[in-house]
Symmetry: C2
Subunit: 448 residues, 2 copies
């Protein structure tokens, strides 16, 4: 069965699929169209490249079109935008952005891996020079250049999510004063507020002027920028708008492919859209949430990579199911790490799938209490009261946070109860963990 | 149902049981007999107390008899040895070691939590002054005193297991030359040899004179000690014998209680011995191995603590099952951490429970490859070929090793396949983990 594969988008999901297809069908015809001028970029590293923690931006380049061609025999066409999908005739319309030439390409199986873009809130003046979003490598270059060419003493970050928090650390690392403006009454809106007390204090201690419950009404530009908010004006030298992302699903929508309530593309567990030879993966698609047992749009790199690979397997003829996601995520916030998996208390309360919810929050030590260097680890567990099943967990601390969330992500995937988690046979040695890990302590308290 | 509880042994298992019983039955009569002069001691911390990393030995004391009485209303009688169990009449014979007075005590439910002791190999001269085992607080004091009172330039460690490895680090920390003599052709005999290459080199680089495949034939004492081995004599100033432990199960055996093939006490999942109102927990008992699905003797602190608690629950009338253990263990070896869970390749090959075994060993980074401070993590997975079920894992590396083993311990408990593990939704952020964690990489390779 010689097949022709077309992939729209050359980042994590698209290139994962392409690599998989190529390994499974070395002779098949395959083209990857990428609108931008680079592929496979580790976008999550950009804040650390701006701060200088990562010295060389080219390290973030996982793959170039040349290497993709040479080492993996993948035909990647950068600066090629797919503008139309004709699913009746299995053809896409492509524009070569360098020559403006338009042409059509046929496919037997198509993958939409168009990703997501930074959301642009309707703030008057947001188009001013010195106001940036941060999503692509191009954004990173613009920010780095602006920092190099201007004397930046103060920056304003609009939005206190992951990118905003990472950029706050970046600015402080560069010794630039930072104001963070957040509409909600908490940073990190995917977390429950109650577990964030210490890390919120920590941000302020690190010199971030944090303004919660504050709406941005406009950005003026005279000599400097002026961010006008519901709580007063903020004179500033540059602005980062980090108010979330939106799925690049318009192309799919226009082709009559079903979209979910988030606006991202609906897929089944074989990564097929509503049109069976068109697949989608990555930040443009909804994935099944393993706890909610419904589709959800949580665009993060790990599920883009894995989903792309699974899409490739299915497109190349090996039926494989992607089980789903938990929304597991982690962000470093100065010396703290905050991480989560599964449902927050808020999400669990809102879900009709589960009965009464109970929550537990405990603080334990990262090591045996008598061993030097033990630091506090705070765990919040969200549990269905009747079944004692763990539905979600959030952890904050200064060390050994992420992998503890991974233990709980694994337990949630296995639908474990807190009783079972309390009896897990986990590692113990004084320099490494206490004999009852904070995971055990939280589970045992939750089990009561 | 007012009951009288007797507990033999006041360390992790015994005191966990006593605390649980007291919370459940505040009025019940209960006595804990402890042969030694202390209870609830964090023995795993002793090497770090000897080295001075832990400055104050009293920090290792989790509980004293006084505090146990005052805060938990537990009657602990130290220096009281139970010398006989009369299970027909539900009575124990006790000797007060201070007064030599003997008396009997009745019980309705009895817990044997007598622990384990250091094995003493039949080496001529092992009784010489300057030769020590390391198991109890008393041992720790003897070693610390000997170090203080003698000019120790060189120490010899017989046995390359956990205690031996920790003591090697302790001696090097104290700037004392160390020779380690091990009968087998590898250190850390509970691991597969092939994953230990780097850590074995690391020990030698840290100044340990490592002699594998070497038998100790005797220990002479003239001015100095002389350890006589199959590969020559080793003049030395002190000797640590760390050649394993033995269960303190003689008292149980003499009472007609069934012992397993290891010599430790056989129990069911309610922690009952072959006599239904006599329970056992901790290092004197075999536990069910969750992968082997048979009883095994792996005396480690976490299962002593948990097993004691479960025994207490059952004794106090709440039927609770202890699911079993995986033999999860971790040890710090200078800058390395080595950890394991489930079956080694050797164990899996020997087990008749599983079909053909495959193994995978990969090395990945602890963080995103472009983020500074990423260190190599080597993972070995042991998989049943037909079912793709993960049966065991071993990990070595310089950082973030133990909690990765905990993820796999959780996956093994849930009987996950490597395919499922490869798709787990784990944390990703450049400073914390790569987008494909070494866990994913190992599982995906094992899945091929």
């Amino acid at each position: 069965m010689p097949k022709k594969f077309v992939i729209i988008g050359g980042d994590a999901a698209g290139m994962s699929a392409a690599s998989k297809i190529r390994r499974m069908q070395p002779e098949a015809e395959m083209i990857v169209f990428e609108k931008g001028d680079y592929i496979s970029f580790a976008a999550c590293g950009i804040p650390y490249w701006i701060s200088g923690v990562i010295d060389d931006g080219s390290k973030l380049q996982v793959l170039t079109p040349e290497i993709a061609k040479e080492k993996r025999n993948i035909d990647v066409r950068i600066l090629h935008e797919v503008t139309k999908i004709d699913s009746m005739n299995n053809r896409v319309t492509v524009t070569n952005l360098e020559t403006s030439e338009q042409y059509e390409e046929s496919y037997d199986a198509l993958l939409i891996a168009t990703g997501a873009r930074a959301a642009i809130p309707p703030i008057p003046g947001i188009e001013n020079d010195g106001v940036f979003t941060l999503r692509s490598l191009a954004d990173g270059h613009l920010i780095k250049d602006y920092l190099a060419k201007n004397k930046i003493k103060h920056a304003t970050i609009i939005g206190g999510g992951y990118i905003g928090l990472e950029m706050a650390e970046t600015y402080r690392h560069l010794n630039i004063a930072v104001t963070m403006v957040e509409l909600l009454d908490q940073i990190a809106p995917t977390f429950d507020k109650d577990i964030l007390v210490k890390v919120t204090e920590h941000i302020v201690e690190n010199g971030v002027d944090l303004r919660l419950d504050t709406r941005v009404n406009g950005i003026d530009k005279t000599a400097r920028l002026l961010v006008k908010t519901s709580a007063g004006d903020i004179p500033t030298d540059m602005v980062i708008v980090s108010t979330g992302v939106r799925p690049n699903s318009e192309l799919a929508g226009e082709a009559g492919i079903s979209l979910g309530k988030s606006g991202a593309i609906t897929i089944n567990s074989n990564m097929q859209t509503s049109i069976s030879n068109i697949y989608a993966a990555g930040d443009c698609a909804e994935y099944k949430h393993l706890v909610l047992e419904e589709d959800i749009w949580i665009p993060l790199a790990p599920s883009a990579n894995k989903g792309g690979r699974i899409a490739g397997e299915n497109m190349a003829g090996q039926l494989t199911q992607f089980p789903g996601i938990l929304g597991t995520a982690v962000v470093k916030v100065f010396d703290y790490t905050i991480a989560q998996t599964g449902l927050t208390e808020k999400q669990a309360e809102q879900s009709s799938k589960y009965g009464e919810i109970s929550t537990t929050m405990i603080t334990g030590g990262s090591r045996a209490h008598y061993y030097p260097g033990s630091t506090p680890i705070t765990i919040k567990m969200v549990v269905e009261k009747s079944s004692k099943r763990l539905l979600g967990a959030q952890i904050i601390g200064k060390a050994d946070v992420a992998k503890r969330v991974d233990v709980l992500a694994t337990a949630i995937t296995a639908r474990m109860t807190v009783e079972e988690i309390g009896l897990l046979d986990l590692t113990y040695a004084p320099p490494v963990a206490p004999v009852y890990d904070p995971i055990h302590v939280a589970a045992n308290v939750a089990n009561k």
